[in-house]
Amino acid sequence: MTARPEPSAAAGTAAALVDRHYLDVRDLRVTFGTDDGDVRAVNGLSFGLERGRTLGIVGESGSGKSAASLALMGLQRGRRTTVAGEIWLDGENLVTASPERVRSLRGRQMAMIFQDPLSAMHPYFKIGDQIIEAYRVHHDVSKKVAKKRAIELLDRVGIPSAARRVDSYPHEFSGGMRQRAMIAMALSCDPSLLIADEPTTALDVTVQAQILDLLNDLQKEFNSAIIIITHDLGVVAEIADEVLVMYAGNAVEHGPVQEIFSAPQHPYTWGLLSSITRLDRTRSDRLRAVPGNPPSLIAVPDGCPFHPRCQYANLAGPATRTERPTLETVAPGHRVACHLPVEARVRIFREEVAPSL
């Protein structure tokens, strides 16, 4: 099937092309129907990303990071799951595209790397065969050509003696090697969008750094847009150009990585930054966790979803309990969704938060 965008959408595309990012997510909503009610896993998420840029999405478990990324790939599961909003990839809306069209883009134009490379590879099939399969589903080539490609890729991601290891099974690889093989598989069709869902969480620290370096190098080589989903701000600092902080299915802060680390404005971002371990500081006091628990996504609090856990909620006026804040631009490329007055945010960060970071 060669489904093109509908004529009306195509006409709209031409007009809107100028101000649309390579990946442009607009008001994305992912809802899981359950017997207890609708779980709003992603609740109106919007962001854009250009090729060659890396976006780090951070947030607690259940903040909607993974649900959002699976929706981008069209991999949401379950008959009671709905995806609404717009996902524009290279001028094509994936939400309204046919499932068959999205499938043909999956693995070719957009690829994904998963958290645990042991469970993410089929235990019964050889590593090489799994890469060959990923390549051949989008390219009409012989097994031999595809195998050559698989060996090249394994070699490129740093698997020693790739020509021999191509015939290994996943359980014969170490964790780091499996993640490299996973990356090789994701890169087999030169995707322009690469989504990495906690790619280093299951790996030890030295291997983590190697994998991040590899992703950095590959991005320069292939000029892809990369989304890296993590709860590890260290990973973000290492690799990302921009950071998107998610809370309760929505973006609360989005900006260039230097800004987010040097001048964050959202109290939740402050909380995340305060909970990082710093080895270069004396241990003055205990690590501070964000108090409270993430909200239920079935009954998200009214107003700012973070207000029940926010230390500064009483400085933000009554609107914080009734009105959902929208993302406002506070600096070029830096957007924050918070009811606190800008001056108050800047002052609190400078006087109260920054000294203890």
């Binding site: 469970s119 590879m121 996973m182 598989m185």
Partner: protein, 333 residues
């Protein structure tokens, strides 16, 4: 791999030997301990003292148990003479003992009953694999749908109904009431394949009804497990068509445990489907052993038990080899 197979076969032989020792002990030692003489069982109804003594000597029951066992074991490979009857009887190898009740070598009884059991087991197996696994896969793919719920409800009922109930009801209806399958008896496949199939069909259905239900539930559970695995998500993320995701990636993992259970089930079915054979009056291994038990025909019980155990051991070996072929993680290197 060859070494692995040889090791498993040798292990299987050891197990069979152990089983033969244990059954032999049970059947020849226990009567001794309890004070009843097996010779009395062989000597006919209310025999005289002298007759019992004669039979005891002729059967070698006065010899030490080890010697008796040796004769039994050697007989399997070399054959042996029995002189319990008016004439000396030659029991050719493989001699699994001699049934004095039926005046024939146990091996002959087994070879007569075996085609019946095999016909019953294989026919039913084809049916329940196709139906059970098919329904299981369909249910898993349409989890929560009307089809799934209906199939699982019927399956729950089917596993709860014993074969002697469903068998009798079916017999009553199709054989006596509607006379679609009148006069059910076993006909050898080579004599008349059509009649063979027609007469076996009700028994196949009864067995397949029970086993389909078990396999549908097993397949569904296994398939649902696998469909939730990360590597299935990976397969989808690669952009594979859904039929490849399900047909290649999911099915291969999901059917592995099903094949394992199937191997063991088939092994025990080949040892005789006692209830089904009895209900339908087929003289397979199951019915033969039931009759042997009710008449105290110890040599037959012994022979059939060892023979049936052989099927189970063989099935186990095949399942292990199958596993090693399919799953590279358990493959011996």
């Amino acid at each position: 791999m060859a070494g692995f197979v040889i090791r498993r076969v040798l292990g299987g032989i050891v197990i069979l030997w152990l089983i033969s020792v244990i059954t032999f002990l049970l059947f020849f030692l226990v009567p001794k301990v309890l004070g009843s003489n097996p010779a009395i069982l062989f000597a006919g109804r209310s025999p005289s003292e002298a007759a019992v003594a004669g039979v005891t000597k002729k059967l070698g029951l006065d010899q030490p148990i080890v010697v008796q066992y040796w004769h039994f074991l050697a007989g399997i490979f070399t054959g042996r003479h029995f002189d319990a009857g008016p004439d000396k009887t030659w029991c050719p190898p493989p001699c699994f003992g001699y049934s004095f009740k039926n005046s024939e070598p146990v091996w002959q009884e087994i070879t007569r009953a075996l085609p019946v059991t095999i016909s019953l087991a294989l026919g039913a197996a084809v049916l329940f694999l196709l139906i059970g696994v098919g329904i299981g896969i369909l249910s898993a793919l349409r989890r929560g749908s009307v089809v799934d719920r209906a199939a699982m409800t019927v399956a729950l009922g089917a596993v709860s109904l014993p074969v002697y109930f469903t068998g009798l009801v079916l017999l009553l209806l199709v054989s006596y009431q509607w006379r679609i399958f009148p006069n059910i008896h076993y006909v050898a496949f080579l004599d008349n394949p059509l009649l063979w199939a027609r007469n076996l069909l009700p028994a196949w259905i009864v067995l397949a009804f029970l086993y389909s239900a078990m396999y549908a539930r097993l397949t569904r559970a296994s398939m649902l497990d696998v469909l939730g695995e990360d590597y299935i998500r990976t397969a989808r993320a690669k952009g594979l068509p859904e039929r490849t995701v399900v047909g290649k990636h999911a099915l291969r993992s999901a059917l592995t445990p099903v094949v394992t259970i199937f191997g063991l089930d088939l092994g025990s079915l080949l040892g005789g489907a006692v209830l089904t054979e009895t209900t339908f009056g087929f003289r397979g291994l199951g019915k033969t052993s039931i009759e042997a038990i009710s008449t105290g025909d110890l040599p037959t019980i012994l022979g059939v038990t060892i023979f049936a155990a052989g099927f189970v051991v063989l099935a186990n070996i095949l399942v292990d080899v199958f596993y090693a072929v399919v799953d590279p993680r358990v493959r011996p290197t």
